[in-house]
């Protein structure tokens, strides 16, 4: 009897060791999280009751705080609801105004500009001329179309775009990204064109300074922007011009036509030299080396204005 009791006690201890080992193994395998949550849930009600009884002041304070938070949230919801209604009314008024404005615009005399600007999206093929991998294919394709070698721009150096004369791209056209000027088309082939950036020494364009003051933005004097190889400079500014560091440089015209100002860069250095001339250094806004897509500006005549009279009549009747 004693012996069996003794064995039974040690057997129970062995069972505890086994249970503990199994629990540790299960814990290592992360199998016990569900059981842990279940037991914690079973403990929660009593724990909350004890905590509430143990610290009633804190509970009361937290209840008061919760009530005040609820009140604040309610006030905020009410405020937001009023704001929503006000915005709805404002939105309806604005929609009505917009409808009236459109109706008035349609009733007024139509203005159709003669010249417009087409934007031709182009992808930069290569930053260093025609890639050798593309040259044979271009020659074969050109031969098939009966084109001369000069139409293919195979020997171009510099940045090569994948749009050419076929899409209306011609030499001298400004090339943009956003409203900033990247450069100008130098040569054009049937399918590709060569771009020279604004910092290229052969680049030049008429520009105008734009002063930004606390009182507003003012147009400054005209000059000629030239590339220097690493940046740009403005020449031809009269000695009476007002130039300061940080002034913007915008286009005077787009391919000779008056249009929206395009951004070239910012004045980084402006010195009035002893010879009575300005030395103005400009940092270009865009570094063409980092671009992969650009837009070529192509001016064209408005087709509705220049269409033959018969066609115009048809267009009017259709409208």
């Amino acid at each position: 009897m004693y012996r069996s009791q003794h064995n039974y006690i040690w057997l129970a201890f062995g069972a505890v060791v086994l249970m503990n080992s199994l629990a540790q193994a299960a814990e290592n395998l992360q199998l016990l999280s569900g059981l842990r949550v279940a037991i914690q849930d079973a403990l929660s009600p009593g724990r909350l009751v004890v905590a509430a009884f143990a610290n009633p002041e804190t509970t009361t304070e937290s209840s008061v705080q919760a009530m005040s938070e609820n009140h604040a949230t309610g006030s905020r919801i009410e405020l937001l609801e009023q704001q929503r209604r006000r915005l709805l009314i404002e939105n309806a008024q604005l929609t009505n105004q917009l409808r009236q404005h459109r109706a008035a615009q349609q009733a007024s005399v139509r203005y159709r500009p003669l010249a417009e600007f087409d934007l031709v999206l182009a992808r930069v093929l290569c930053h260093s001329g025609m890639p050798s991998s593309l040259t044979p294919a271009m020659i074969d394709a050109g031969r098939a179309h009966g084109m001369t070698r000069s139409e293919l721009v195979l020997d171009a150096k510099g940045i090569l775009l994948d749009q050419g004369g076929q899409e209306g791209v011609a030499s001298g056209r400004p090339v943009l990204t956003g409203s900033a000027v990247v450069g100008r088309i130098e040569r054009t082939g049937r399918w590709v064109s060569q771009l020279i950036p604004v910092s290229d020494p052969s680049f030049s364009a008429p520009v105008r300074l734009l002063h930004r003051t606390p009182g507003g933005t003012h147009l400054g004097e005209e000059g000629m922007l030239e590339g220097t190889g690493t940046g740009c400079r403005i020449v031809g500014l009269p000695d009476t011009a007002s130039v300061s560091k940080g002034d913007s440089v915008v286009s005077e015209s787009i391919d000779g036509l008056i249009g929206p100002p395009l951004f070239y860069g910012t004045v980084v250095e402006a010195r009035f030299q002893s010879a009575g001339e300005w030395s103005v250094d400009v940092e270009p806004t865009i570094n063409a080396e980092n671009l992969d897509r650009v837009v070529v500006v192509v001016p064209r005549l408005n087709k509705t204005r220049v269409a033959p009279p018969a066609q115009q009549t048809v267009q009017r009747s259709v409208r």
């Binding site: 004693y2 009791q5 003794h6 039974y8 006690i9 040690w10 057997l11 129970a12 201890f13 069972a15 505890v16 060791v17 249970m19 503990n20 629990a23 540790q24 814990e27 016990l32 059981l35 842990r36 037991i39 914690q40 079973a42 403990l43 009593g46 724990r47 909350l48 004890v50 905590a51 143990a54």
Partner: protein, 166 residues
């Protein structure tokens, strides 16, 4: 079976209290004496196994507990019971040892459990000595009177024949 249910409920209450007031009651300060006395209360293998299972369960609920704790406490309780069995010190629920011994012996699993709880942290210097001493002092202040109270209840139950050994 009734004893197992009572012990489970008491364990649930102890863990609940410890979790509700961790600022006052360090982890295992109520549970360890309860389980230790519970293991000795039964006076046979079932108490050891059931108490060990409760400690393992506590280790699952609160993973901060060291893995050694159930084994250390169960081993101490097993040694005590085994010795009592060999000396035939327990007869029909009445302990016949010396009066002081009867009060002191149930404290052994508690002290061993404390060693298992705090020893590894102190040995590996994971717990700063000042913090360990402070926690240990708080632990002793609560655990020892609580263990003595439970021991008194156990002895009283033995005297009144409410504690039966099988």
């Amino acid at each position: 079976m009734k004893q197992a249910i009572v012990m489970t409920l008491l364990t649930w209450g102890a863990i609940m209290l410890e979790q509700a007031r961790p600022d006052v009651l360090p982890a295992d300060v109520l549970l360890l004496p309860l389980v230790s006395v519970g293991m000795l209360w039964h006076g046979h293998g079932f108490g050891i196994m059931f108490g060990g299972a409760l400690l393992v369960m506590d280790g699952i609920v609160r993973p901060h507990n060291v893995a050694l704790l159930p084994i250390a406490v169960a081993f101490t309780a097993t040694l005590i019971l085994s010795r009592q069995q060999s000396e035939d010190g327990v007869r029909n629920g009445r302990s016949t040892g010396s009066p002081l011994g009867r009060w002191i012996v149930p404290l052994f699993p508690v002290l061993v459990g404390m060693l298992a709880l705090f020893g590894p942290g102190l040995a590996t210097s994971q717990m700063p000595l000042e913090a360990a001493l402070s926690t240990l002092g708080r632990f002793l202040m609560i655990a020892v009177p609580w263990a003595l109270l439970l021991t008194g209840l156990m002895l009283l139950a033995g005297e009144f024949g409410l504690r039966k050994s099988t």
